[in-house]
């Protein structure tokens, strides 16, 4: 009797130890990880033969990568330098800027200010961070580690400036595009922090913003056309290097077992329970809770996940109890997109957030990402319309119920394309929209690539309206 009890106890103990080891590994692999902790767990994982798997999970994402500006603009006088996400130059300046942004900890006073003060700050000297979309304050704080006053609802853009000659202290301006509000935060930090970054940079050129040209106010002669005052209006003819793109082929069968397992695990599926099928549209794995399909749409490969029920999807990897759920959703989604890119070896493309991260709609949360290659956004198309690289939908409990990611590789091509001038592009968009829809509001204008009929076209992208509709104006010639 005693021996049987001892055996039972020993078995139970062994089981408990095994469970704790598994739980320990799981909990560490699911968090962002950094520095020493990351090395420890990586070493541990390698030792037990899980190195590849855990590396995939841990090396994915940090909050400051998720909540990072699409472009950083240094302004000195009326001269500017633009650093776009996805370039080496951007990476070299972003870390320093982040350390300045963290100075928001030392805010001594904050107030709402009129737009004129924001634009005045834009025109003198400072660092402008354009996030492209709006982030709820809690999401922004959690991602960047930068605390902000509670009055601020969302963050769409930030200016770090030393333009307060009275105190010579760092001033931070925040723009909430969603609410149309501007805030000024006074800090106790020396303005020298920003001045040093600006003086160390080279290559300032004269690039106006829409507000400087007066294009951000209504015209009185023609139909109303208003360009967001922050939009950079590069009036010079731009050249864009030609690129070629190759769709990811082979689908699941091109992946080794380890990567298939990893891919399935991202969607709470496993190779032992999921069944593989093939139909005319592609190949898929079907599990009790959902379907993961690999297919090809208009020459571009697409990975798509659909949960069987909207009430039961893939749960969050790092659900912070009682915290900012939209941040956890964004972080999870961003990490999955990075992981999928690594699995299909398309990870030379960076991502940026393409949808507002503010409030959920009645059905749940939507997160959209776009690709950026060497600082230039890349759009796939669906039935001729530009579409986002990744679209994710989460139910109100934060479970992933829909996922779609376009998969392709880009490589430098021969020669350059001349993309249209900004005013030519605006005229074409103006004509295309027609006379019924007014006023026309242009949010941003920038160079981009558009994948169309197995080609990557250099274009000028014009983003209009509140629903961020994208118009692409193709290049007129190549060299």
């Amino acid at each position: 009797m005693n021996k049987r009890t001892e055996l039972l106890k020993s078995t139970l103990l062994a089981l408990l130890v095994a469970t704790s080891v598994v739980l320990f590994a799981n909990s560490w692999s699911g968090r962002p990880g950094s520095g020493e902790n990351e090395n420890l767990i990586t070493q541990f994982a390698s030792a037990v033969g899980l190195g590849g798997f855990l590396n995939n999970e841990i090396s994915l994402t940090s909050g400051t990568d998720v909540i990072s500006p699409v472009s950083i603009i240094y302004t000195s006088g009326a001269k500017r330098i633009i650093f776009n996400k996805g370039t080496d130059m951007y990476n070299s300046v972003y870390g320093n800027i982040l350390s300045v942004l963290l100075c928001a900890e030392n805010v001594t006073h904050n107030e709402k200010v009129p737009s004129s003060e924001w634009y005045s700050a834009q025109k003198t000297q400072g660092i402008y961070l354009n996030y492209g979309v709006s982030f709820k304050r809690g999401v922004f704080e959690k991602g960047t580690g930068c605390p902000l006053p509670e009055e601020i609802k969302n963050v769409s853009a930030v200016i770090l400036t030393s333009n307060d000659s009275a105190t010579n202290k760092l001033v931070i301006y925040i723009y909430d595009y969603t609410e149309g509000e501007f805030y000024k935060l006074l800090t106790s930090v020396s303005a020298r922090t920003v001045e040093k970054l600006l003086s160390d940079a080279d290559g300032y050129t004269n690039i106006p913003i829409a507000e400087e040209l007066g294009f951000s106010t209504d015209s009185e002669i023609n139909r109303q056309i208003v360009i967001d005052g922050n939009a950079v209006i590069n009036l010079e003819q731009q050249k864009l290097q030609n690129i070629s793109f190759k769709s990811v082929s082979g689908g699941f069968s091109a992946l080794d077992n380890r990567n298939v397992n990893f891919l399935l695990s991202l969607f709470d599926m496993s190779k032992s329970s999921a069944k593989q099928y093939a139909d005319i549209d592609g190949t898929m794995y079907i599990d009790t809770y959902g379907t993961l399909r690999f297919s090809e749409k208009e020459s571009v490969s697409v990975l798509e996940f659909n949960a069987a029920k909207e009430t039961h999807g893939v749960s969050l990897e790092n659900n912070s109890q009682g915290g900012e759920i939209f941040y956890d959703i964004l972080y999870t989604g961003y990490s999955k997109a990075r992981a999928v890119s690594e699995i299909f070896e398309t990870d030379n493309l960076s991502f940026y957030i393409a949808s507002n991260i503010t409030t959920p709609d009645e059905n749940g949360y939507t997160v959209q990402l776009d690709y950026v290659s060497e600082g230039v956004p890349v759009f796939a198309t669906e039935e001729g319309t530009e579409t986002h690289a990744v679209t994710m939908k989460f139910n109100l409990s934060g479970e992933l119920i829909y996922y779609r990611q376009y998969l392709f590789e880009l490589s430098p091509g021969n020669g350059y394309s001349n993309i249209p001038g900004v005013l030519d592009a605006i005229n074409l968009v103006y004509s295309a929209i027609g006379t019924n829809e007014e006023p026309i509001h242009i949010k941003d204008i920038s160079a981009c690539y558009k994948l169309n009929e197995a080609k990557a076209e250099a274009c000028l992208c014009v983003i209009t309206g509140k629903n961020d509709k994208i118009y692409t104006i193709p290049s007129n010639n190549t060299e």
Binding site: G77, T124, E195, L198, G214, F215, S219, N222, L428
Partner: protein, 151 residues
């Protein structure tokens, strides 16, 4: 009765004066005419520290806008050439116009000429003074100043 009519007549004349003044007086805050509204510069006389300068405005589709500078030696306005191209633009559907020019030190008397598809020609002039090292420079770009003095 006569007095009343006289008073009414006087009032009507006074009103008509006020109204006509309002109709024809130039708006001091707006540079432009019935064909083109200049967005930059915002006033007829302005000062800048930027040698490379953009004149912008809005007009109707099809209007040809050309930019000239006064030459005091020849006492005439010459069409500007910027980076080898004539400063002439035809407004597209949006009507937006932006023309880069290079300012010379001191006062630049700039003439903006419009030629509409119906043959109408308008001309307006603005004065832009380029101050290379003005007080506003020192205030707006201390970095350059520091570099200039080797600090």
């Amino acid at each position: 009765m006569k007095r009343f009519l006289k008073a009414l007549l006087c009032l009507t004349i006074a009103f008509s004066f006020v109204i006509s003044f309002n109709c024809f007086a130039a708006d001091p805050g707006m540079v432009g005419n019935s064909v083109i509204k200049i967005k930059k510069p915002e006033t007829y006389t302005s000062t800048t520290s930027q040698k490379e300068y953009y004149i912008s405005g809005v007009t109707s589709s099809g209007v040809v806008v050309s930019v000239y500078r006064y030459n005091p030696f020849t006492n005439s306005f010459n069409l500007l050439y910027v980076d080898g191209k004539a400063a002439v633009q035809t407004a597209g559907a949006s009507g937006l116009i932006a023309q880069k020019i290079y300012l010379t030190d001191g006062n630049n008397k700039i003439r903006i000429r419009t030629y509409s598809p119906d043959g109408t020609v308008t001309i307006l002039e603005v004065n832009i003074t380029l101050n290379v090292l003005s007080l506003s420079d020192i205030q707006s770009s201390p970095i350059d100043i520091r570099k200039a003095i080797g600090a």
